[in-house]
C-alpha cells in the first residue's frame, strides 16, 4: 500500500523533470542574465565588454528617461484591454447563448486570424487606416476627420491594432466561462423580479468573472509589452515601452538600460496583476 503510494509520488516528480529543465534553461538562466545585465556598468559596450558593478542608477536613469513610454504602454494596454472586454464580452455571450448550431463555426472564426501571421495582420491594418484608404476617406466625407486628418501613426491606430490583435485572447476565456453558465439561472433571475439588465449584473456577470479575469490578464500583459503594433501603426510620438527596449537592445546597444526597463516592466505588471486578482476576489468565485 505505502509502497505504491510512494512510487506514485515519485512518478509525479519524474514527470516534472522535463518541465523543470525547460524552465531552468529557458527562463531562470535568461532571467538571471537579464537582471545581471541591468546592473552592468554604463560605460560598457559590445566592443569593450561590460563589467558587473551593481550599477543601480541604471534603473533610476531608465525611469527618468523613459517614464513617458512606460506610462503610455500602460494606458494603451489598458484602453485596448477595456475595448477587448466590451467587444469580446458581447461576442462571447452571443456565441454561448445565441449562436445555436453555429457555435463551433463562430469559435473557429474567432481563432481564424491565427492562421495568418501576426505581422501580416498588423500590416493589413496599415492598409485599412492609410491616408487614402476607405476608412479615412469615409470619415473625411462625413467631416469626422478634417481634410488633412489621418489615422495612421496616431495613438488611435496603435490602440486599434492592439485591440484587434489581442481580441481572441479575451474572447476564448470569456466564452469558456459564459458557456458554463446554466441558462436556467438567468431565467430564475427573471422569474425573481430581476429585469434583464439587473439579471445580467446580479447573475451573469458574477458567474463570468473567472473568464473576465483570465481574459483581461491574457490581453493586458502582452498588450503592454507589445512593440509590433506601435512599430507598424505608430510614430515616434506613440512609442511604447516594448519599442524602447527593442531599440535600446538592437540599435543603441545600451544593454543595461534595456535590461533595467525590462525588469521594471515585469515587476510592475506582476504587482498590478496581484493587486487586480486580489481585488477581483478570485478565491471567492465558486
Amino acid at each position: 500500500m505505502s509502497e505504491t503510494v510512494r512510487r506514485r509520488g515519485l512518478t509525479g516528480y519524474i514527470l516534472l523533470i522535463p518541465a523543470i529543465i525547460w524552465l531552468a534553461l529557458f527562463f531562470l538562466v535568461p532571467f538571471y542574465s537579464l537582471i545581471a545585465t541591468s546592473l552592468f556598468n554604463k560605460g560598457g559596450s559590445d566592443f569593450r565588454g561590460y563589467t558587473m558593478v551593481y550599477e543601480w542608477s541604471n534603473y533610476t536613469d531608465a525611469l527618468k528617461n523613459y517614464w513617458p513610454q512606460l506610462v503610455r504602454s500602460l494606458v494603451y494596454g489598458g484602453i485596448a484591454t477595456l475595448l477587448c472586454l466590451i467587444i469580446g464580452y458581447v461576442l462571447a455571450y452571443a456565441i454561448a447563448f445565441k449562436a445555436g448550431p453555429f457555435k463551433n463555426l463562430m469559435l473557429v472564426l474567432v481563432i481564424a486570424p491565427f492562421f495568418t501571421s501576426f505581422l501580416v495582420r498588423t500590416l493589413s491594418w496599415k492598409l485599412i487606416l492609410a491616408d487614402d484608404g476607405w476608412v479615412v476617406n469615409s470619415l473625411q466625407f462625413v467631416h469626422i476627420l478634417g481634410p488633412n486628418g489621418h489615422l495612421l501613426y496616431t495613438p488611435f491606430a496603435v490602440v486599434m491594432g492592439l485591440t484587434y490583435n489581442f481580441l481572441p485572447f479575451m474572447v476564448l476565456p470569456l466564452f469558456a466561462s459564459i458557456d458554463k453558465i446554466d441558462y436556467r439561472l438567468i431565467e430564475a433571475a427573471n422569474d425573481l423580479y430581476a429585469n434583464p439588465i439587473i439579471g445580467f449584473w446580479k447573475v451573469t456577470w458574477p458567474l463570468s468573472l473567472p473568464g473576465v479575469i483570465s481574459g483581461t490578464l491574457l490581453t493586458f500583459i502582452p498588450a503592454v509589452g507589445d512593440y509590433i503594433n506601435d512599430q507598424l501603426l505608430g510614430s515616434t510620438r506613440t512609442r511604447m515601452i516594448g519599442n524602447t527596449i527593442q531599440s535600446l537592445f538592437t540599435q543603441a546597444n545600451d544593454y543595461p538600460a534595456a535590461a533595467a526597463l525590462s525588469v521594471m516592466l515585469m515587476v510592475l505588471i506582476v504587482a498590478m496583476v496581484l493587486v487586480y486578482v486580489k481585488r477581483a476576489g478570485t478565491e471567492d468565485l465558486l
Binding site: 446554466d182 439561472l185 427573471n190 422569474d191 425573481l192 423580479y193
Partner: protein, 389 residues
C-alpha cells in the same frame, strides 16, 4: 385521443367567471411544425394544489413556462386573478417558479438566494422575512453556506423558500422532486403539502409521477400530446377514468374488448366475449358499438371454480393462473382468459383466502359499480408504461 373529456370539467371559453385563480384559454404553443400545447383550456381555482400530470413531452412544462412568462404563447390567453398576463414580462408577473434542478445561484449563499426576489422588489424588512422563510423550511443553520454545500433535499427547500418569500399569487413547481431519491421524495411530498396548507398560495405542480400527483394535489389534470385528457380529484380520476390514456397512466387497468348490448336508465350492458357485464351509466363513456370494459386489478376478485364470490355481477369462468407474484401486502396474479387475454388481479393478503398457484383453474368477478366503459376508438395501450421513465 379525445377532446371531449376536457370540456366537461374545465369550463368552456365563454365562461368569464373571475375565479381569482389562473385561467388559460385556447392556449397554444408551436415550436416550428411541432405543437407542444394545443388549444388548452384550464381553470385553476385560487388556493388549490393543482397537479399537471403527464408523460415527458406532453406539453406540461411548456404550459408552465408560458404561465411563468419564460415562453411566449403562439396564441391564446393567460389570465391571473382576472388580469391578462399573456404577454407580461416574467419579472412583472406575481408568479414564482421552483425549477426542476432548483436553479439556485451558485455564487450567492443561502440567505442571499432567498433574499434575491425581495431585494429586486426593494421590499422592507428583507432580513427578518428571509429568516422567517428559512425557519419555515427548517434551514436556519445553513444561511451562510453555498448551494453546492447542501444536500439535494436542502437545495430543494431553499428553492421553495426563494420562491415563496415573494408571496406570489401562483407558485409553479416544475418536477421539483425529480432529482431526489425515493425516501426523501416521500418526505418532501408531505412537507410541500404542509407548507401549501400553511401559506395558502395556489400551487401548480408539474410532474410525470402519478403517485406524487395523487398524494399531493387536490385536483389533477392529466395531459397528453398537448391536450388535457381529464381533470378532477385524484380519487375521481382513478376510479372513473374517461380515456384509455388516463386508465393506464394513472395506476393500472384491465381493458377488455366488448360490444354494447343495451342501454338502460341506470346500467349499460356489454357483451364481453360472450359474457354479459354491466357498467353504471355514469361510468360508461361511449354510447354504442364496441367499447373497452375497464376494471382496476384490485377490484377483480379471484376464486376457485364454482366458489361463490362477493359480487352480484357475473362470474367469468375459464381462467388459468399464469403468473403469481407475492408482494407481501398483496399478491399479484396474471390470469389467462378463454379469449386469450391476460388479466391482472391484485388480492390483499388478508389471510382469509388461499393463494393460487400457476396453472390453477380460476373464476373472476367484480362488482359492476367498479367497472367503466371506454371508447373503442382509443388505443388500449395508450399511457401504459409511460409513468416511470
Amino acid at each position: 385521443m379525445s377532446h371531449l373529456a376536457e370540456t366537461e370539467t374545465a369550463s368552456p371559453s365563454d365562461g368569464e367567471t373571475p375565479t381569482g385563480g389562473l385561467e388559460l384559454r385556447e392556449l397554444t404553443k408551436e415550436f416550428g411544425a411541432f405543437t407542444a400545447v394545443d388549444r388548452l383550456d384550464l381553470d385553476v381555482p385560487s388556493g388549490s394544489f393543482f397537479a399537471l400530470l403527464g408523460p415527458s413531452g406532453c406539453g406540461k412544462t411548456t404550459t408552465l413556462r408560458m404561465v411563468a412568462g419564460l415562453e411566449t404563447p403562439t396564441s391564446g390567453t393567460i389570465r391571473l386573478g382576472g388580469k391578462d398576463i399573456t404577454y407580461e414580462k416574467p419579472y412583472r408577473r406575481p408568479v414564482n417558479t421552483v425549477f426542476q434542478n432548483y436553479a439556485l445561484f451558485p455564487h450567492l449563499d443561502i440567505f442571499e438566494n432567498v433574499a434575491f426576489g425581495p431585494r429586486r422588489r426593494r421590499a422592507d424588512g428583507v432580513d427578518a422575512e428571509v429568516h422567517r422563510m428559512l425557519e419555515l423550511v427548517e434551514l436556519t443553520s445553513q444561511t451562510r453556506k453555498r448551494p453546492a454545500q447542501l444536500s439535494g433535499g436542502q437545495q430543494q427547500r431553499v428553492a421553495l423558500a426563494r420562491a415563496l418569500i415573494n408571496k406570489p399569487e401562483l407558485l409553479l413547481l416544475d418536477e421539483p422532486l425529480g432529482a431526489l431519491d425515493l425516501k426523501l421524495r416521500r418526505q418532501m411530498q408531505i412537507e410541500l403539502k404542509r407548507i401549501q396548507t400553511e401559506v395558502g398560495i395556489t400551487f401548480i405542480h408539474v410532474t410525470h409521477d402519478q403517485e406524487e400527483a395523487m398524494t399531493m394535489a387536490d385536483t389533477i389534470a392529466v395531459m397528453n400530446a398537448g391536450v388535457i385528457e381529464q381533470m378532477g380529484a385524484p380519487d375521481e380520476l382513478y376510479e372513473n377514468p374517461r380515456t384509455t390514456f388516463v386508465a393506464n397512466f394513472l395506476g393500472q387497468s384491465n381493458l377488455i374488448e366488448g360490444t354494447i348490448a343495451s342501454q338502460g336508465a341506470e346500467m349499460t350492458t356489454v357483451d364481453m366475449h360472450g359474457i354479459t357485464v354491466s357498467v353504471l351509466r355514469g361510468r360508461a363513456h361511449t354510447e354504442s358499438g364496441q367499447g373497452w370494459v375497464g376494471i382496476r386489478p384490485e377490484k377483480v376478485l379471484i376464486g376457485d371454480v364454482g366458489e361463490a364470490l362477493d359480487a352480484p355481477g357475473n362470474t367469468i369462468p375459464g381462467g388459468v393462473v399464469t403468473d403469481v407474484s407475492f408482494v407481501g401486502v398483496s399478491t399479484q396474479y396474471l390470469v389467462k382468459m378463454p379469449w386469450g387475454q391476460e388479466l391482472q388481479v391484485f388480492e390483499q393478503n388478508t389471510g382469509r383466502r388461499r393463494l393460487f398457484r400457476v396453472g390453477d383453474q380460476v373464476e373472476l368477478s367484480w362488482r359492476p359499480e367498479y367497472a367503466f366503459l371506454l371508447d373503442h376508438e382509443q388505443d388500449a395501450s395508450a399511457g401504459a408504461q409511460l409513468d416511470d421513465e
